[in-house]
Symmetry: C2
Subunit: 351 residues, 2 copies
Amino acid sequence: MYGLIMAGGYGARFWPLSREIMPKQMLRIAGKNTMIQNTVQRIMPLIPLNHLYIATNEKHAKIIDTQLKEINCAENNINFIIEPMGKNTTPAIAVAAIYINEIDPESTMVVMPADHIIQKKTKFLKLLKQAEKLANQGYLVTFGIKPSRPETGYGYIKAGKKIYEGFKVDKFTEKPDLKTAQRYLKSSNYFWNGGIFVWQTKAILQEIKKYLPFLYEKLNILKNSPNRLEALKTFYTEVESISIDYGVMERTDRAAVIPADIKWNDVGSWSALDEVIKKDSKGNIITGNVIDINSQNSIIYGGSNLVASIGLKDIVVVSTDDVILICPKNKSQDVKTMVNKLKERKKEEYL
Amino acid sequence: MYGLIMAGGYGARFWPLSREIMPKQMLRIAGKNTMIQNTVQRIMPLIPLNHLYIATNEKHAKIIDTQLKEINCAENNINFIIEPMGKNTTPAIAVAAIYINEIDPESTMVVMPADHIIQKKTKFLKLLKQAEKLANQGYLVTFGIKPSRPETGYGYIKAGKKIYEGFKVDKFTEKPDLKTAQRYLKSSNYFWNGGIFVWQTKAILQEIKKYLPFLYEKLNILKNSPNRLEALKTFYTEVESISIDYGVMERTDRAAVIPADIKWNDVGSWSALDEVIKKDSKGNIITGNVIDINSQNSIIYGGSNLVASIGLKDIVVVSTDDVILICPKNKSQDVKTMVNKLKERKKEEYL
């Protein structure tokens, strides 16, 4: 079994802790290790390090490399796929699939994001083995996370008829409105799309060929080039930017889902910390240089400057060395809007 | 006519802009000048600079001196009463009264805080002249500010029978609860005690002698000493710390009040800025290094670090070089509690 860790993201909703130079997957958000360290350690029992690929850009590869050395996963064991630019998930998956398939045409690969929390680690590994069986039947398997709240920020998967260890996917759905999300929550057929996939490399390559023939064609650049980095650069420049969900999963009839009760959390915004970090008796998560009086249900991260907070309710405060974010928890999705605004205003120093 | 400007305060509720080294009266809170500069310029048409006394401590006297030079009020014209320690208002008033009375036994003096805003300046001067007439009848005259809201943070004055240009004071009242404050607001007999007084020096000295004989006795130290600074030090060390309201005004039967509609504001807390600074179309006061998305009715002061605020409602954010305060507007009185907490925790660097 092979693995691909998607570590190309920025984690804009985790700004200002998450920065271009140090995105979310490299932060110690919950606990002493970084998220990518946790992701590698989690999968290690199942996938040997030399079977593991990490897709990221050049700068981040160096930092990730350092972080993996910290946990004794040496550089020469893990393969980096250096992305010359961000082009969503499909190009990285296609590249990894080609590389792995060249080594072993009958190989199965797991695709997983670098910046998610999975608390039930043993269960996760067990489900991966289960997914492998399904993948060996030719299915493109996705993990379906059981919804715990009417989340409107995720896509959902509707499970169809039972097959072997899981279900056929009936359909993928767009991010729902609140009412629809509440209906999904009550139903037992709907799952969150956690971005974790298991498939045979030959199967995903077949489907990419079928639904994204242009991109598939361009994979030849990689096959025939003596210089991997150069070839990747040409490939990435030429292909379209498209997610594997939109490019393949929503179109294929080979999609399957395995319900996964693994205490998964994508820590997709500041308010998500409520589910992964222990709160104090007033419901607060307070850490760093903070003096607080009577705040409730708030998340307060102090930085180099003292944060003096009084009577806050459901507010997120994150102070770093150069910036401070303040927003109500229920607006924490809008942190991405703030990041975009900073880009618009050419405030690169804060990105 | 002589004047005493009380500039000994800290302005704890205006922390963290107001600091021990640079308290509220020395800040440019509303407009281009500092509050003490405004206070001096406001009174200048009525009181010549060499008739003006400023009570403050040694460190602050130097800063005030610099600020007054900025507005061309040179050092040798204004008299500083250097307080070796804070002992509330009565000692400073008694000292100024003695000094002025020695120069002119028939003199009248105005006492005013250094850190209040008065927008109707001409009206203020007119009322001072009116108060002078009343003072010349032997009354201790206080300015009664017409309440504009059911404020529970101030003492109130109840006006009694009409006399000449004003009213006898029926009584001074403690800070009321909200219900009482609402009743006062509806009545036309209740006024805020704005801390502005006019009296003959001989009259206030007579009343200090009557109600605070110990303190009065100690004034002899000042009369018989060749070294003013040394004498002040001894005097301040020995006398009690007591406000003129509690020490004299609430006990004397010579108290009078002049209703003063002068657009007065003591800028006693961050939320008070709403009344003195023009708000934007969303009701915000935003200044400095701030990028805001959709906040309402909030006060946001950016400092060296960028403040990125999203969707705040009725929140005060004040960022300085080393600290950031965040609190709901209706909790802005509690900033003083925060300052006390910092003292308790020996965080002097933030005071």
